[in-house]
């Protein structure tokens, strides 16, 4: 018994020591609660960052940067009357536009920084035969290169003929419920600043779209 008493650890403390120990414990507990609370806030932030719930227009403009225009207004027009790219907003038959830079007097440039495709989402579906007519310019370093055009699931192509304003016509003959129109430009386009050393324009320009018309039927013979 006496041996046991010798090895019993000292667990008792004076009242003031007990008070300070309990105060320290309480302070530590409060601090740990604060740390857990702060970590919970950062976990919530991580969740929020990874799970945005935004509109398609928001995602295109702010997150994916595929368009230079946020939620544009729409003006009345038909596919036959066409889309004039220097006109503010979009025609009523176009829902969204991607891959186009800001609007300028002579139209809108494609910018590969915004995506490799200039894409239009249409508000109405096209079936059967459609003649696509496009007025466009191009930067000189892509003259002679091909441009793939995909309307719905049907594909066509044309070769860029020059840097000045040119009218291109493409015939689509077997469209079925086509609601998208994509222009797939040549790859690896350089930034304007790399080609024109007096410029600091970082846009990777390709074609300047001036006007676009979609007319049912066959393209007129020229």
């Amino acid at each position: 018994m006496s041996l046991n008493r010798e090895f019993v650890p000292q667990t008792t403390a004076y009242p003031e020591e007990r008070t300070s120990i309990s105060f320290a414990s309480m302070t530590s507990v409060i601090k740990i609660v604060v740390i857990v609370g702060l970590l919970a806030i950062y976990a919530a932030v991580a969740f929020a960052v990874l799970h945005p719930h935004v509109s398609a227009a928001y995602r295109d403009f702010y997150i994916d940067h595929t368009t230079a225009e946020y939620n544009p207004s729409h003006y009345p027009s038909t596919p036959s009357e066409g889309m004039h790219f220097n006109h503010p907003g979009l025609p009523s038959w176009i829902q969204t536009a991607r891959g186009l830079s800001v609007r300028e007097d002579w139209g809108r440039w494609s910018d590969a920084n915004l995506g490799p495709i200039v894409g239009l989402t249409l508000t109405q579906a096209f079936d059967g035969e459609v003649c696509l007519s496009l007025d466009a310019r191009a930067v000189p370093w892509i003259v002679g290169q091909p441009v793939e055009v995909k309307m719905g699931s049907e594909e066509a192509s044309f070769r860029i003929r020059g840097q000045d304003l040119t009218d291109y016509q493409l015939q689509f003959s077997g469209l079925h419920n086509a609601k998208t129109l994509d222009f797939i430009l040549p790859p690896h386009l350089p930034a304007l600043a790399e080609q024109v050393h007096t410029s600091n324009d970082s846009r990777r320009l390709g074609m300047n779209f001036s006007a676009l018309r979609l007319v049912p039927g066959e393209c007129p013979v020229r």
């Binding site: 003031e16 300070s20 105060f23 320290a24 302070t27 530590s28 601090k31 740990i32 604060v34 740390i35 702060l38 970590l39 806030i41 950062y42 919530a44 932030v45 929020a48 960052v49 945005p52 719930h53 935004v54 928001y58 403009f61 702010y62 997150i63 940067h65 225009e69 946020y70 939620n71 544009p72 207004s73 503010p88 907003g89 930034a191 600043a193 600091n200 324009d201 970082s202």
Partner: protein
């Protein structure tokens, strides 16, 4: 060891520093410099009206450019969706600065613009005081204290402290953060960082120098089994302002990063910074001046490392990186991202402190530049936005 006694001792030690006669002297110096800065800017603003179409009738006229965005944060508040085709919104403007202006508008019945300008002016006083306090231990004479304060009061871009911008509030909070971190007052340092991150996004990077200061204070080879809960809480507090804003914007817009994404509307996006720097260096006029400032700021980072001030160097490097990696065409507006960083002004102080002649030259340059910026401000030039 009685923990309450330790806490009490720490609190009194910290409070004693702020109450000390030296602290009172620092505040007096800050007050005099603040008055001088106000007289300077107001005087130049008045004179500007003689020579141009500028109109300066009252303090609120100083509120332009970003100040009007801060006003929109007060009224109508953060928008839930942009209404313009260019996508510009007030999400990119942090709330702490307009929050400090709100009582002036609400209770003192000042105009919205007037309350923002007055708030930034008052915060300039805090910025001068906090900057001197940040490294007052290194200064022995009153002249040195005055010189340090004058770097803030007569900053070449001091216009931003008189025009309803968040710069002086952010600057003051970061300087206080360094001050408390130097004294191992970790929770106060973390709080200062947390508030700074609510004033400007860049304030969140204060967590990095805080962490370095904490590691240095503990010692690299310290006993890591010993808990330092205060240090950890302080570290977690540093980005708290940004975190809370992100949660609010997530609730409001659906995108926690909308404060960053909003910059797309101003053409700011992640890009290779070196072509932009090289292009600006080859340009003429302001673009080249700003590019040289950028290079000087990076050199200052290196020099601060050499001076064994890694916390300041790391902070400046990270703060610069945010603007360096998302350059605006022509480096427009980049100057205030450099000149309203406490470590950059500290670097200038160290470069000039041993040369009276250099001080005279610097103050002449800084005052002249500051006056020119005020003139440009009222002239509507975009070299000062």
């Amino acid at each position: 060891m009685d923990v309450s006694a330790v806490l009490q001792e720490q609190h009194e030690r910290s409070a004693a520093v702020l109450r000390s006669p030296r602290s009172t002297k620092i505040f007096g110096i800050a007050l005099v410099l603040w008055i001088a800065s106000n007289v300077f800017v107001t005087g130049v603003a008045k004179i500007t009206t003689w020579e141009s179409t500028a109109s300066y009738h009252r303090m609120a006229n100083l509120c332009r450019w970003d100040c009007t965005w801060y006003a929109s944060v007060i009224k109508p508040g953060y928008v839930s969706a942009p209404t313009t085709a260019d996508g510009s919104t007030n999400w990119a403007f942090n709330p702490l600065f307009p929050i400090t202006a709100y009582p002036l508008h609400k209770w003192l019945r000042l105009s919205l613009f007037g309350s923002l300008v007055l708030a930034s002016k008052v915060e300039l006083l805090l910025a001068i005081y906090a900057f001197i306090l940040m490294f007052a231990d290194e200064m022995k004479t009153t002249a040195q204290l005055v010189r340090a304060g004058s770097l803030v009061a007569f900053n070449p871009y001091v216009i931003y402290a008189h025009a309803g911008y968040a710069e002086p509030l952010y600057f003051a909070l970061i300087a206080l953060g360094f001050y408390f971190a130097n004294r191992k007052r970790w929770i106060l340092a973390g709080l200062a960082g947390g508030f700074a991150s609510a004033a400007r996004v860049v304030g969140a990077v204060f967590a990095a120098p805080y962490f370095v200061a904490w590691l240095r204070a503990r010692g690299w080879r310290s006993d890591w089994s010993k808990r330092d809960l205060n240090g950890l809480i302080g570290l977690l507090l540093c980005p708290l302002g940004s975190a809370l804003l992100m949660l609010y914007l997530y609730h409001h817009t659906g995108d926690a990063l909308s404060l960053q994404h909003a910059h797309v509307a101003w053409g700011r996006d992640l890009a290779n910074p070196f072509p932009a720097l090289w292009w600006n260096l080859r340009e003429t006029q302001w673009s080249r001046v700003w590019a040289i400032m950028m290079v000087a700021a990076w050199l200052t980072c290196g020099w601060l490392f050499k001076l064994r001030k890694p916390e300041l160097a790391i902070y400046l490097a990270l703060a610069l990186s945010l603007t360096f990696l998302t350059p605006i065409v022509g480096y427009l507006g980049v100057a205030r991202y450099i000149w309203w960083q406490p470590p950059f002004l500290y670097g200038i102080y160290r470069a000039l402190r041993n040369s009276d002649a250099a001080w005279v030259l610097y103050i002449a340059f800084a005052s002249g530049m500051a006056a020119f910026m005020v003139i440009g401000w009222f002239g509507g030039h975009n070299f000062v936005v």
